[in-house]
Symmetry: C2
């Protein structure tokens, strides 16, 4: 029986991170400084702690500078905003990420708005969301949607002119990936449909997809009868389902019934090992891009001095 | 032969403007001030002069205060930004619109960013575009897309759960109307497809539409074979085609071949008299909404004083 090609976010991430590490080394050689990512964590949420640690480790492994600022669960909003202000003003910090969710006494939107848009490597600042909605080709795009585009392009599935159906309309994945797919640039120029929980006859919609992006958060809901043969599937779902045989008592499954759909699809991304690793990879890519732009913007004298020093050192 | 119901933007605008005039009168009674729209025109473009005059007249007819600031074609960017700053700071001005296009020596994005987002009644500020992209239900939405939603809702064609195909991905119409249609609110909750000039087999896509929004700017390109019987059509196109029999030497046609499609559609908006009048109507609606919010934000004392004066006067 023929099975779909696997779109491995894990493998694509590995080669992208090697490219980024080489690029970060060149940046250091040219400027005397390393791209620097600052991650702020408020509180002790176990999952958030894991994510923050993964981000810091990935940055360091790629030769970036990394800072992690951990604040107590009870930190007042003003104090968090003060920390962000300090990072905004620090020329050695190129990217800032406040790990979400923040504790309930803190206004998430206020925090996101407080980050300098030029350092907003998560792409969640309203100015960046607006630039993305306007088709801006230079914006720091949110990491998960940008990772989906990279997965398609690096697997040979250019969305240009094809019908991409996005299932899910979240502000973190569904809407921004639709906007990326509509841009007039490589990775864009798709015909894009966004469907969601209120869509009538969802299967009739998903069956039209040349490329299907499943991002609605329902375990294994997409089955073989909901796709057309030869479809390319990116599964963004990360759902915990009980599993007595697993040590942890659960396992992770995507929004797609993998075994069922893999028998008819042309290609499919797995969960885990699909979109997950790409999100951190795109965070590193955004941080390097932000670092390059911030150096290009500096007064010519200091930037030249940096280069002269590094040339002398090399 | 049965013909489609006509969705008259002209008629809907008339009743909406009467509602807005009544609402503006109540606002005046409660606060002692009228909603005020300031329109800034740079240069002498003939079409822009007509639009600016129409906006001012519509505002005055609805009982709004209206200001028109006309600046010379050669006005330096800084001077225009200074005018906008003055309007931003003026508590009597609730809505600000800079008529586009501005002369080439002026950076359009810089001008749009200079307008206080709370007074951005055109909905073009990146903060407002970002809020719209994030599904924000309180944002001042761009006027033409918001007008399209009103036309559908007031004609009894709720997009909820239906498949809406938008042809065209402009930042002024296609993308924002798609984002409005995706919101989880009345007028939203549609399944939305955005197609465009790069879409493969456009007719196969448009034939799936329960509601078709044509906004690509090609005269009469949508024909009967591109729609399914019973479709509801909103025609956003405004194209000039030569017409020797017309006094002006041209006539306006939409993106839809009206006579052809009207024979199979359930309902269709004409050009002219369709979306056109709705754009100015929504500008008035945004200005009133902005005025209400700005008054609600003022210190309680001054707002109460306004109400007391009006109560005494009435």
């Amino acid at each position: 029986m023929r099975m779909a090609k696997i779109i491995s976010g894990h493998a694509i991430s590995e080669s992208m991170r090697a490219e980024l590490a080489a690029d970060a080394a060149s940046f250091h050689a040219a400027t005397g400084s390393s791209p620097c990512l600052a991650v702020v964590l408020v509180g002790e949420d176990a999952a958030s702690q894991v994510y923050v640690r993964m981000k810091g480790k990935a940055a360091e492994k790629a030769g970036y500078a990394s800072r992690t600022i951990v604040l107590a669960q009870t930190t007042p909003e003003d104090e968090l905003l003060g920390v962000v202000d300090g990072l905004n003003a620090d020329p050695d910090v190129h990217g800032i990420l406040v790990q979400l969710p923040v504790p309930k006494h803190i206004d998430t939107q206020k925090v996101l708005r407080s980050i300098d848009p030029a350092k907003d490597v998560d792409g969640f600042h309203p100015m960046n969301a607006g630039a993305l909605a306007s088709g801006d080709l230079t914006v720091l795009a949110p990491c998960t949607p940008a990772g989906i585009i990279e997965m398609l392009m690096r697997s040979g599935y250019d969305p240009k002119g094809r019908h991409v159906v996005v299932v899910g309309r979240s502000t973190i994945v569904g809407r921004p990936v639709a906007l990326l797919l509509l841009r007039d640039t490589p990775g864009g120029n798709a015909t894009v449909t966004v469907a969601h929980s209120r869509s009538t006859d969802l299967a009739a919609i998903t069956r039209q997809a040349d490329i299907l992006i499943a991002a609605i958060g329902r375990p294994a809901m997409t089955t073989r009868d909901m796709v057309k043969p030869g479809v390319v599937v990116i599964d963004v779902g990360v759902n915990r389902v009980e599993d007595a045989e697993s040590e942890r008592g659960y396992r992770l499954v995507g929004d797609v019934d993998y075994d069922d759909v893999a028998e008819v699809a042309e290609a499919i991304s797995p969960v885990p090992g699909g979109v997950g690793p790409m999100t951190i990879t795109m965070l590193l890519a955004n941080t390097l891009e932000a670092a390059k732009r911030q150096h290009a913007m500096r007064p010519a004298s200091s930037s030249r001095a940096g280069r002269a020093v590094s040339a002398a050192g090399g």
